[in-house]
Every structure is written in C-alpha cells, then in structure tokens.
Amino acid sequence: MTISIRKTLLTASVSLFALFAAQAVSAQEAVFVLNTSEVGAPTYNPIKANNLNKATTLIFDRMVSQAADLSFHPWLASSWEEAPDGMSWTFHLKPGVTFHNGEPFNAATIGPWLEAFKGSENAYMTEAVASVEVVDDLTVKFVMARPEPNMLYNLSSSFMSVIEPKSYAALGDNYGVTEVYGTGPFKMESFTIGQETVLVRNDDYTWGSPLAKNTGPAHIAKITFREIAEDSTAFLELKTGGVDMLLGVPADLLSEVKKEPNLAVVTLPGQDVYYMPINVTKAPFDDIKVREAVAKAINQEEILASVFGGVGAVADTFLISALPEGHVADSAKIHFDPARSNALLDEAGWVMGADGVRAKDGVALKVSLWTQSDSIFRRLTEVVQAQLKAVGVEAEITTFDSSMIRDQYKTGTQQLAVRSYDWDNADIVDWFFGADRLGYPNISMFNDPKAEELRKAAMTGSKNMAERVANFTAYHEYVLTQFPMAPIYQPVESVAYNADRLVMPAELNAPVVGSTAVMDMEVKE
C-alpha cells in the first residue's frame, strides 16, 4: 500500500511535473519536521535567541553533553575540575576541533564567546563568570564572581552552543540568519525563517559526544528541517512519505500514527508537568487544610488512564522525575487520598450538604477553576472538576485564550487553575513560587517567609552541584508541604518516523531526540 502510494507519487511527479523539482528524497538524505513549538524560531544565534529549534543542536556542539538521566558528560570539554569553594572552574578542551569556517576551537575561543553574552537575552547563563583565564592552548579557567552550581547545566544548554567568535563579531545580526558557523556535525546550507533549514554533513567531524556510538561524521549526508504549524498537515506528510520524521507528535495524533504499519514512535520522558496552582491568598484556600484537601482530591492515576490513555506518568511533586531535586521525602509527595481529603474538609468546618456540595456558615464551597483554551486542557480540567465534586467542592470552569491567560493571572483573582510548564531544571520552583513574582509566574500568590529563606539558599547560597541539589530539594520539599499547587501528570515526548526510511539507534542516551540520536541514525538505501 505504502509502496504503491510512493510509486504513484513518483510516477505522477515525473510525468506531470517533470519540470518541477522532484519531491522524492534520495539516499542518506532525510526530511524532518520540527516540533510545532519551535516553528518560527527566527535565528540560529544561540546567544541572542529566545527560542532555538532542534537543528541548532546539529550545527553547534556544546562544552558538556547531558545523558538520559540528566547527568553531565564530556563533549568539547574533555574534562573539568571545580574548586571546592565553587569560585573557579577549569576546563580541558578537546584538541583538533575546528569550526565550519576553518577557524580552530581552542582556549582563545572561550573568552570572546562568554563576552558575547554580556547584555544579551541569555546573559544570566554566564553572569556568575567574572573572567576567563587562558591557562594554555587547550585549558581555560573560569574565575567566578559567585559560585554557580548550575554551570554544567548551562554549558549543556543549547543556548550555550559554542559559536565561532570571529564570524560572530563580523556578521552581527546576520550571524545565525544568513550564515552560521559552529563545530557541529552539520553545516547550515540555507535557512528560510518559518519554512525550512537545510543542513549538510560536516565531513571533518571527529569529536562527537561520547553519548552517541558514532563520534565521527554522521551517516546522514543532508537533512532538511521543515516547519509545519498544523499538526494534521505534518502527519499527512509523514504518512505519504513527504517527510521522514516528526520531532513532536501531539498526544491526540499518536493513535493515528500507530495505525500506520510503516510508521514507528519513539517515546522519551517529557519535560512538562501538568499541575493545579492553588491561590493561597483567596479564601477558602488561605486555609492550608482546604488546600491539602483539594490537592489530595486529584486522582492522578485516573487522569493518566482516562485523559492521556495511559501514556506518560503521574506527577507527585512539582518537578519532572528525572531531576534529583524531585526526590523529596515520601511524606511530602502529593497523592490521591479521598479519605484524608474529606476528613480535612470536615475538620476545616466545611460540612457536606444534601446536594453534594459542602458549606460553612451558610456559604457553599464554590470556587473558580481557570484553564486555557487548548483542547487537552479543557478535557483535563473537566475531569479535575468532577474529582473535586467527589469531595464536595464545586468548581466553576472559566476558559481563557492561551495567549491571554497570563494577563488574567496577573490580576491575582484566580482560585484554582489547571496548566502546565516545560522546564528541566529545579530553578522552576523559584520561578513559579518566588515571592517577587506574585500573580504571574507565581499564580499561587505564594509568599512564605520560610520558603523565601530556603529559596535564597537554593538560588544563591550553593557552592557546588551537590549543595545546590540539597538546597533545592529542601526548598522544593517545603513548598510541597504548603500545598500551593497539586501535581497532576508528566507527559512523554513522542517522535514519529518512517521505519521504511530511517533506522533509529537501538538505545538513546539523551534526554531528547536531538544530535545524539541523529549521529547514530541511518537512512535505508
């Protein structure tokens, strides 16, 4: 069936459109479709970008690579040492590395690269580095203004992709748009914003991350990254053989993909958490008992099964499970416990009425429940509403347009909401519960003196990674016990590909399908 479709396509394109460029893709060339959230990323300049797409990770290498378990491994830096007081880092660089324009990568690259961050959108990545000392041609020392336990995380982020400083300075705003030079396994051939990026193999590449089996040149010679905003269009392209891989498949298309015999799906732990913020300043949620009661009324297992078809995992903390800071004491984890929920509401004086809604002093337990207009949130929120009803809380759903809901949160009038975030670092706890950002991002309006103390320690008081993990775990754990939110669900990230065309590596030691996967990927000839 598939073959006949492709044959028809081929015959048709040859006979009818001989004059036009052929659509069929030849050997060791592949077409990937970027995730819809990455559509329209305007530049490949990692320093000035807010949004970078997957192709970035093939043009550039990074100092440090990150494995599936989020641990850090060498890449352009072959090893490193951190001073015990956190006030300096020494990096030993891999020899023999060159940029696409022939410039060498060595200790002289690092200073101007970090310098370029100053005053840029991503300045916070390097803020803690006071200066860079060149020790020898392949050794650099970061002299720190303050300890930065997040240094390796930052160095593994695509925003800290290593740029070529000379062309970076010469090209100005055109760097990353018209031309771009990294040390990565692929060179940029062309880039049309919002449309497509064509990458060709860097045949000189021998310095790949050890997380991939292949550290030499990639098997695939040419990759076209297409940007398709409409998921169903992207799916039809995959189905008809117009493209070989979709780097993001929405949950509702997954069953369609699985119906096609030639298509396969790779799932990886996602970086999203779905949760229900609880506004701690709005009655009745100023009472911690009521907060705990609604948090424990959420049946995460039921939601996983009924809303998400069993794909993904339940969330019982605020962080994705891969993060070490998510390993809090079991007592702090938030699980479905209807008996406890009912008991707490009774204790707080909310008495179950004949109509199934609790009341106190003649006031019914009716609250507002906000969400955004995307269909998945509407479905999920209706289930949450039903689960709250089961313990006698009547929640009225208000749906806002996704692009406008932030402004609504800023008013601080919300009570409950259902939303999600996408982040792979524990500092997200600071972002959503820090007292200096009430309204949005701190939708819970959480402002607790003890939490603020722990937050300060976590954000700036850690000298090294181990301390940072300990401090953030303590902060995270304390926040959980105050119930400013209820964790719900952790999705997976799904990538779909044409198994007649692509051979995926059997094992993938990376948090996402990106450069590590592409290095080991092959096109069937």
Binding site: T8, T43, A229, E237, D427
Partner: protein
C-alpha cells in the same frame, strides 16, 4: 478623468489613517504582551522594565502610535520584537509567496468563474444552470481550511498527485490555489450569470437579434462584454480579500507568506509585525477598491463620460 483619479487617491489618505489607528488600538487592547514571550525562567522584574523601555512599550499609547505612524509614513515598519529583525525584511520575504498564491487563485477564479457563469446564463433555468449554481454555492460555503484538508486528502494522500504541503516545488502551489480559487469562483460565476441575464434583456440585444445575428454570437460578443463590467469590478475588489483569505490556507498547507507570518506574530504578540501585516492586507483591499473604480471608469463609456 485625471481629476477623478487624483480625488480617489487623496480620499485614500483619511481611510489609511483611520485603518492604521484601528489596527494599532485593537492590538494594544488585546490582553497579553510580547515581553512575556521574551522573558525566560529566572528573569527579574528589572529585566522586564528594561526590555519594555527598549521597545518603547513603556510610552503612553498616543505617543507609541505617533512614533509608529510617522515611521510608517517614511517607509520604516520598525523592528520585530520577537523575530528581532527589520519588519520590512520579514514582509519582503513573505509577500512574493502570498502574491503568487493570490495571483494564481484570482486567475483561476476569474477564468473558471466567468466560464461557468456564461455557461449557466446560456442555459438559464435548465439543468446545467442549476448544476453549476448548486455546485458553486456548495464551493463558496465550505470553510477554506476544511476544503484545504479535503483536497489534501484526495489529491495528496489518496491519489498522490501533489505534495501535501510546503512551497518546495511549483506543484505544491496547485492545491492551495484551488482552495482559495474555488471560493472566489462561486462569486464570480454568480455575478457573471446575473449580469449576462440582465444584459440580455436590454434593447440593444433585441436590436441585434432583429439584425439577424446568431444568438451565441450575440451572447459572447456583445452581452458578455457588457456583463464583464461588474465582474471586473468584483475581481479587483477580490485582490485584497484574496490576500486576507490566504491566511488560513497558508497555515494549513505550511506555506510561507503574509498569513503564516501574521498568525505566528499574533500568537507571539509581536506588535510591529502584526501591525505591518494588517496594514498590508488593508492596503491591498484599499488599492483593489481603487483599481476596481478605475477599471470601471475606463471600461464603461457612461462613467467615463460622466467624469469627463
């Protein structure tokens, strides 16, 4: 005639000002702002204020409008906040794609629309007329994004004749052109038919019949010429609408163009880009209207005489 032209062009100025004000105000009263899209986890409130100042978003609205308008008048559309490059670059990159799509769609709907309209008029109240008008009604009531997906399913997935999406080959243009063109065809066919029927009842047609000309020759040589005047006016008006109507079609077919740019920028609240896109679309409608008036004046001797 020239004074009429000048008058029409001068009249565009207040219309342009009004349109620009409406575009500006609507955008700024939509909740949400572009800075939210730029701020990363960890940004301080100071960083926010700094960024607002950088893009002039801290100024009062009338000042922002004044600055924008005066720059637009000088041909400077500003710099995109999220995409961070001159808006004119983005527009120039997108516009040729939209013009190509719109141009072919207009061509399709004029040729096919006039053809069907004539065919329907010649067979007035007989079955071809009813079939054409029925089909045309169906075509015009289908939402374009849905029609696009249906065409994609039939011609790309089942028959495999055309690529599903993109703009990588000329064959990829066929389905989007059909999607937009079919909607316009309905309108053109209906106007042609009515105009033909109306013109057939005129005295000069009776005279031509009396002179013994063949009915088909009368219809195609004389009646159609008359009937085309309103059709051409409608087609000129469609220019602007076709660019606007391409918005959803471009997104469905993942084509570059003003529509894709507009939708993307709207979701990012990238005001300068959205303003420029809307301004382009509004200008297209205004110029289309102007062109319609001029063509009508040029084609209709009565209007020409009245203006002289």
């Amino acid at each position: 005639m020239y004074s009429y032209l000048i008058r029409r062009v001068v009249m565009l100025v207040p219309v342009f000002l009004a349109v620009s004000l409406v575009i500006f105000l609507i955008l700024h009263f939509i909740p949400g702002d572009p800075i939210d899209n730029l701020l990363k986890v960890g940004s301080s409130p100071e960083a926010r204020a700094q960024m607002e100042a950088r893009y002039g978003l801290d100024q009062p609205l009338p000042v922002q409008y004044g600055i924008w308008l005066s720059k637009v008048m000088q041909g400077d559309l500003g710099t995109a906040i999220v995409a961070r490059r001159p808006v004119s670059d983005l527009i120039l990159q997108a516009l040729p794609h939209s013009l190509r799509l719109g141009g072919f769609a207009l061509l399709f709907s004029s040729v096919v629309g006039v053809g069907l309209g004539v065919l329907a008029a010649l067979n007035r109240d007989k079955w071809p007329d009813k079939a054409i008008m029925g089909g045309v009604l169906l075509g015009s009531t289908m939402p374009s994004f849905w029609l696009g997906l249906i065409l994609m399913l039939i011609f790309s997935v089942w028959l495999g004749w055309f690529p599903v999406s993109g703009a990588r080959s000329a064959s990829a243009l066929v389905l989007p052109v059909l999607t937009i063109g079919l909607g316009g065809t309905a309108l053109v066919a209906r106007i042609t038919r009515i105009a033909m029927i109306e013109a057939s009842g005129r005295d000069f047609v009776t005279l031509l019949h009396a002179k013994g000309l063949s009915p088909l020759r009368i219809q195609l040589r004389h009646v159609l010429r008359h009937a085309l005047i309103p059709v051409v006016t409608i087609l000129a008006l469609r220019i602007g609408w076709i660019l606007g109507g391409a918005v959803t079609v471009e997104v469905v077919f993942a084509r570059p163009g003003l529509g894709t740019l507009l939708i993307k920028s709207l979701s990012q609240h990238d005001y300068p880009v959205v303003q420029a896109c809307l301004l382009m679309l509004a200008m297209a409608v205004m110029l289309g209207t102007l062109l319609g008036d001029i063509l009508q004046a040029a084609m209709d001797p009565r209007v020409r005489a009245a203006l002289a």
